[in-house]
Amino acid sequence: MRSPARVRAAKWTALVIVVVVAALVPVFETDPATVNIAVFTAMYVGLATAWNIMGGYTGYVSLGHAAFFGFGAYAFGLVLAHLGIQAGYEPFVFVPVAGALTVVLALVIGWIALRTRAATFVIVTIAMMFMIQLLAENLVGLTGGGSGLSFPVPPWSGDFFDTPFYYAMLVMALVSLAISWWIRRSKFGLGLLAIRDDEDKALAVGVPAHAYKLTAFMISAGLVGMIGAIYGYYVTYIYPQYAIDPLVGISLVLMVFLGGLGTLWGPVLGAVILEPAQLWLAYNFGASRLYLVVYAAVFLVVILLLPRGIVPSVGDLVKRLIARRAIGPSGTASTSSDTHTVARVQSP
C-alpha cells in the first residue's frame, strides 16, 4: 500500500532525478542555441516560483514583478561598475547584493501597495512597474537612459558562454523552490494561505496580515531581483524597455496559472512547458511575436478547461482513479474518499 514513508521516499527520488537531469543538460547538449533555451527556462522556473510565494500563497496577484526583475539587473550592473568587478565568475558572488537592494525597493513599494487589495493591488503593481521603467529611462546619469547599461563581458568562448549562466539560473531556481517549499510548511506560510482565503478573518485570529504580506512580497521580489541580476549579466547590455518588460511579468503569471496557482510544482511545470514553446515560436517565426497569440490562446484554455491549473486538476484526477480502483468498477465512489481527494489538492 501507499504508506506515507514510501510516498515521501518516492518524492525525494523523483526530485533528485529531476535535479540531476537538469544539472546534466549542458554536459550532453552542447549546442549553444539549446543551452540558451535551457537558461531562459531555468530563469522562468525561478521567476514563476518566486512570484507564486506572493501571488499563489498570499493571493495578491502582482503584474508588476518585471519591475523587480529589471531593478535587480540595473542594481547589479551599477554595483559591478561601482566596485570595478572584472568579468568572469567573480560577479556571481555579488548577485545577493542586487537581491538585497531589490528587497529594500520591495519594502518601500509594498508598504504602500499592500494597503490595497484585489483588483486595486493589481493596478497599483502595474503603475509601479511603469514608474520604475520611467525612472530607468530618465535617470540618464545613473542608468544610461535609453542608450542602456553595459555589463562586463565574460571572456568565455561561444560554445561555453551559456553554461555558467545556466548553472547560475538553475541554482536560483532551486533556491526559490527550497524557499517556497519551506514557507509552504511553516507557520508563516499557513498565515499567508489564511490571508489568501479571508484576510479579515485571518486578522481576527491573530495573523499580522500586513507584516506577513510585506514579508512575502519582499522575499518574492528579492528572488526575482537576483534572477534579473543574472539575466543582465547574461545579456551584457540592458535597456529600460527590455529589462523592465511588462511581457516578462505577464508571462510568469501565465506560467503559474497554467501549472497551478499556489502549488509548489505548478510554477515549475508551467515554466517548463511555456518558455521553450515561446522560444521555439520566436526562433521559427522570427520576431513576429506570434507567441503572444499563443499565450492568449493558452490563457483562454486555462480559464475554460483548467481553471485551477495542471497540478491540482491532474492530481485530483489521479487520486480519483486510484480511489475508483480501490472501490471496484461496479461500486460508486464513496463520498468520503471523493471529498478527501478534494481536501488534499492544495498540498504540493
Partner: protein
C-alpha cells in the same frame, strides 16, 4: 472584577451615528447577551471592541488597559477572540489547518517553525473531538456543512486560549438540535473560565444562556440586567415592537 469596560463608545458613518455613547462592562467569567433590533449597532460594537473599525469617541479597556486603536490581530493576541455572522472559516484550508492558524509564533520565529507541530495538532484534534467534528479534520473548510463551519469557527477561536470571546449570532441559521449543542459548548467553555459576549436574535437561547442582558437601541444602551429584568422592561418591548 470587570474584564472588559466599554465607556461612552461612539462611531459615526457619515451622517449616521451607529454607536452613540455606549457603555457596558463584562464581569470575568460571565456570559452576557447583547440584543437589540436590527440596525441598533450590535455588530458595530463588536467591530469596535475587536479593532476592525476605529472609534470616534470613548474608550475600551481590557484587563484595565486601553485597547482602543489597536489592530484586530493585536487584540486577538491580548486574549479577545471573535466569531463572525454567517461563520467565516478558511475554505481552502483543511479543518485541521483552520484550527492551527490561530496558534502563532511571534515575529521572525513564524518563518522558521513548522506549520503543524505535533502537540498543537494533538490539541486541535482534542478540540475538534470535543465539538464532535473530529471526523472532518482532513476535509477542506469549503466542503463542510454550515453547522460544521459554525462549530469549527468556535473551536478554532479557542485554540489560542482567549479570555474573552465575542460571538456574533452563534445560533443563527442552524437547526434547533445544533442550537442546543452550541449552547452546551459555550456553557462548557464558560465553566473552564472563558468570558462570553454574544449577539443573538434567538431569544429563548439568549435568555437561557446569559446571566446578563444588554439591550442596545439606536447605538445606545437602553436597558441592562438579568434576563427576567429585561423581559419585563416596557421600554425594551417598545423598541422591539416599535411605538
Amino acid at each position: 472584577m470587570s474584564l472588559l469596560e466599554v465607556e461612552s463608545l461612539s462611531k459615526r458613518f457619515g451622517g449616521v451615528t451607529a454607536v452613540d455613547g455606549c457603555s457596558l462592562s463584562l464581569q470575568l467569567g460571565s456570559i452576557t447577551g447583547l440584543i437589540g433590533p436590527n440596525g441598533s449597532g450590535k455588530t458595530t460594537v463588536f467591530n469596535l471592541i475587536t479593532g476592525f473599525i476605529v472609534k470616534d469617541d470613548g474608550d475600551v479597556r481590557f484587563n484595565g488597559r486601553s485597547i482602543a486603536g489597536l489592530g484586530p490581530n493585536r487584540i486577538y493576541g491580548l486574549g479577545i477572540g471573535r466569531t463572525f455572522q454567517l461563520a467565516r472559516i478558511f475554505p481552502r484550508l483543511t479543518a485541521l489547518e483552520n484550527m492551527l492558524v490561530p496558534v502563532r509564533r511571534s515575529g521572525i520565529r513564524a518563518l522558521f517553525s513548522r506549520g503543524q507541530w505535533h502537540d498543537e495538532k494533538a490539541r486541535a484534534m482534542e478540540m475538534l473531538a470535543a465539538m464532535d467534528i473530529a471526523n472532518v479534520a482532513g476535509l477542506l473548510g469549503g466542503s463542510l456543512s454550515y453547522g460544521q463551519r459554525k462549530l469549527l469557527e468556535l473551536a478554532a477561536v479557542m485554540m489560542a486560549r482567549p479570555q474573552l470571546v465575542l460571538l456574533d449570532e452563534p445560533a443563527g441559521g442552524v437547526n434547533p438540535g445544533l442550537v442546543e449543542r452550541i449552547g452546551e459548548h459555550i456553557r462548557d467553555l464558560n465553566q473552564q473560565g472563558v468570558t462570553f459576549l454574544l449577539v443573538e436574535h434567538n431569544m429563548p437561547f439568549v435568555m437561557g444562556l446569559c446571566q446578563q442582558i444588554v439591550v442596545l437601541h439606536r447605538g445606545a444602551v437602553l436597558a441592562q440586567g438579568t434576563p427576567a429584568d429585561v423581559r419585563g422592561n416596557p421600554a425594551v418591548l417598545d423598541a422591539y415592537l416599535g411605538s
